[in-house]
């Protein structure tokens, strides 16, 4: 079993996130692995751990990211959790990619991994906490010509097929498809493992392979700002809210709340 897990380097949601010149500021001291990708890593590792011994020994879990060099933070975290290999695609030509440019680069990297041997599964988180678009998994599946089984709450791999259950806004569903396939997992799918000391130490010295756009044979016109079909033209912080009206409940707090709503025509 060979699994590629996509990981993203994102600004920490607990830090102050901002734009400069319409681009997201990616301060290396405040960047981190997208938390939702930990669920993807956990799902991939569990799939491999559930295999019979002989299959497990020949399995490989590869963490793949498209990021500037600071994105190694995300790959180190993936190594701490237990992946076998980390690959970073970095190129100035990829800056300001939209969903399609990002997907094109990811698909090219997966195809390069496929030249070494089949990739049975591509696994992703349900969203990245910076953009929250949730569409790259489905787009990547389309680029790779695989069925996409996204937003999984439960995951089963058996007899060469992937089966998931999911609960979306609209329905509870059970989906199944033969491998190779693409899987995205919801944050309810599992509780990511806490890395043990041995893996944390080992992760420090692991190799991170670096591939450029040229290594992947990417046409510069299809990625980055050149290939983008949308452009951010304005970015401004929202005005601060006025001081909160704070009431200590001394028996009439509920009444005061209701009166606030009535006064502001919210009822």
């Amino acid at each position: 079993m060979r699994i590629v897990v996509l990981v993203k380097y994102v600004p920490d949601i607990n830090a102050e996130r901002k734009f400069a010149d319409c681009r997201v500021v990616r301060d290396p001291s405040e960047g981190t692995l997208n938390e939702l990708d930990e669920n993807a890593l956990e799902a991939a590792l569990r799939i491999v751990e559930a295999l019979p011994d002989d299959e497990r020994e020949t399995s490989e879990v590869v963490a793949l990211t498209v990021a500037p060099p600071a994105g190694d933070v995300a790959l180190r975290k993936a190594y701490q959790m237990g992946v076998d290999r980390g690959v970073r695609v970095s190129d100035e030509a990829l800056a300001d990619s939209d969903y399609f440019g990002t997907t094109t680069a990811l698909a090219a990297a997966v195809r390069r991994l496929e030249t070494e041997g089949p990739v049975d599964l591509v696994v992703t988180g349900m969203a990245a906490l910076d953009g929250l678009g949730s569409v790259v998994p489905a787009l990547l599946a389309a680029d790779l010509g695989r069925p996409s089984l996204t937003f999984a709450k439960t995951v089963t791999v058996a007899d060469g097929a992937l089966t998931i259950t999911r609960e979306t806004d609209e329905a509870a569903e059970t989906l199944t498809a033969p491998l190779p396939a693409l899987l995205s997992v919801a944050d309810t799918a599992n509780t990511p493992r806490f890395p043990n000391f041995k893996l944390i130490m080992a992760a420090r010295s692991k190799t991170i392979e670096e591939w450029s756009a040229a290594d992947l044979g990417l046409d510069a016109a299809t990625v980055g700002a050149a290939g983008a079909r949308t452009a951010t033209t304005q970015a401004a912080p929202r005005p601060e809210k006025p001081e909160v009206e704070l009431v200590q409940d001394k028996g009439s707090g509920g009444r005061e709340l209701a009166e606030y709503l009535i006064r502001n025509e919210l009822v």
Partner: protein, 329 residues
């Protein structure tokens, strides 16, 4: 809404077609500000839906005719919906596609954009015409702390729009609505849908995604959502929860950046501390009210009005005053 300045054709996704949800009425309203609006469905619209579409100025509904094997549960797969949208754009030479910001519609919009070579914006908070005639979407990002504008630079624009982006308004004059079929084939590799149960909707309450008012409960409820529900009922609001409360099994759906993201006119958080995850799902709300017995709760930093007190006292009292006020009105 200003009159259209361009002769655009705007397609709005209507799925399901048995009812026209408030989010779709909002899309139709936005669509009319951009050009002539038409609807796309994957099933026959109900009589009620057709009447509402007429009231909102939709003269044509394009109903996809899918191959037999895709007419069942598989028609809900995002790759199928995407092919329907792409085929409808090719058929009508449409310039803009608008879809709600549900999980499946977001995927379908992106895949349709892929098939059409069109620019895609997900989770727009507003859609307008730019000075050069291009479609510009506004977005509220980073937990509602920044506003951005995003211009679509391709001829066709595909956008998903958050609920409550505009106030839905019928057209000045209702029109007669015709349904026209069109054939759609799907080449994409699809998973098999082994089982599907549509989520039951509470007829007495607006959905969390679409509600104008949301009342949510957190750890501070101690598992008793009675006071939260009572206030929601008084206000005609949807009920939500924090992720903690859902993980405790006290409620089924949570507001948060990975749960349901809401931007209602009024958001009331009770017994919710306001962790970054939760704030990411509600901070774009127009008015935020919080009730918490911890005066240090971070949610107080982003509120307009707050009560420090026990929610089991505050919420029922507020509900009683609101019910009395509504009876008078």
């Amino acid at each position: 809404m200003s009159e259209p300045t361009h002769n655009r054709t705007v397609l709005v996704l209507l799925d399901p077609a048995t009812e026209v949800r408030s989010s779709v009425l909002e899309l139709l309203t936005i669509g009319r500000s951009l050009g002539r609006v038409e609807a796309v469905t994957l099933e026959a619209p109900s009589v009620e839906a057709l009447a509402q579409l007429g009231a909102y100025g939709v003269e044509t509904v394009h109903q996809a005719e899918l191959p037999a094997e895709l007419r069942g549960d598989a028609r809900h797969l995002s790759a199928v919906v995407a092919e329907v949208l792409a085929a409808a754009v090719r058929l009508t030479d449409a310039d803009v596609v608008l879809a709600p910001s549900t999980f499946a519609a977001k995927e379908a919009a992106a895949l349709a954009g892929r098939a059409l070579g069109a620019g895609v914006v997900i989770d727009a908070a507003g859609v307008t015409s730019g000075t050069d005639g291009r479609v510009v979407a506004t977005k509220r990002v980073f937990a509602g702390s920044w506003d951005t504008a995003c211009e679509v630079t391709t001829d066709v624009a595909v956008l998903t729009v958050r609920a409550n982006a505009v106030v839905a308004q019928p057209a000045e004059a209702a029109v007669a609505t015709e349904v026209e079929g069109f054939a759609v084939t799907v080449d994409a590799p699809l998973p098999a849908v082994a089982a599907r149960t549509a989520t039951a909707r509470d007829a007495d309450r607006p959905t969390l995604e679409e509600a104008a008012i949301v009342v949510a409960g957190g750890r501070g409820t101690g598992g008793d959502f009675g006071p939260v529900t009572e206030l929601a009922d008084a206000l005609g609001a949807a009920v939500g929860a924090s992720r903690d409360a859902v993980f405790e099994g006290w409620f089924d759906r949570y507001v948060g950046q990975t749960g349901v993201t809401v931007a209602p006119r009024l958001y009331i958080g009770a017994g919710i501390s306001g962790a970054p995850h939760h704030r990411g799902g509600m901070q774009a709300s127009q008015v935020v009210v919080a009730v918490n017995n911890d005066p240090e709760a971070p949610i107080f930093e982003i509120c307009d009005f707050a009560v420090v007190g026990d929610l089991s006292d505050v919420l029922p009292q507020a509900a009683e005053v609101i019910r009395a006020h509504k009876q008078q009105a």
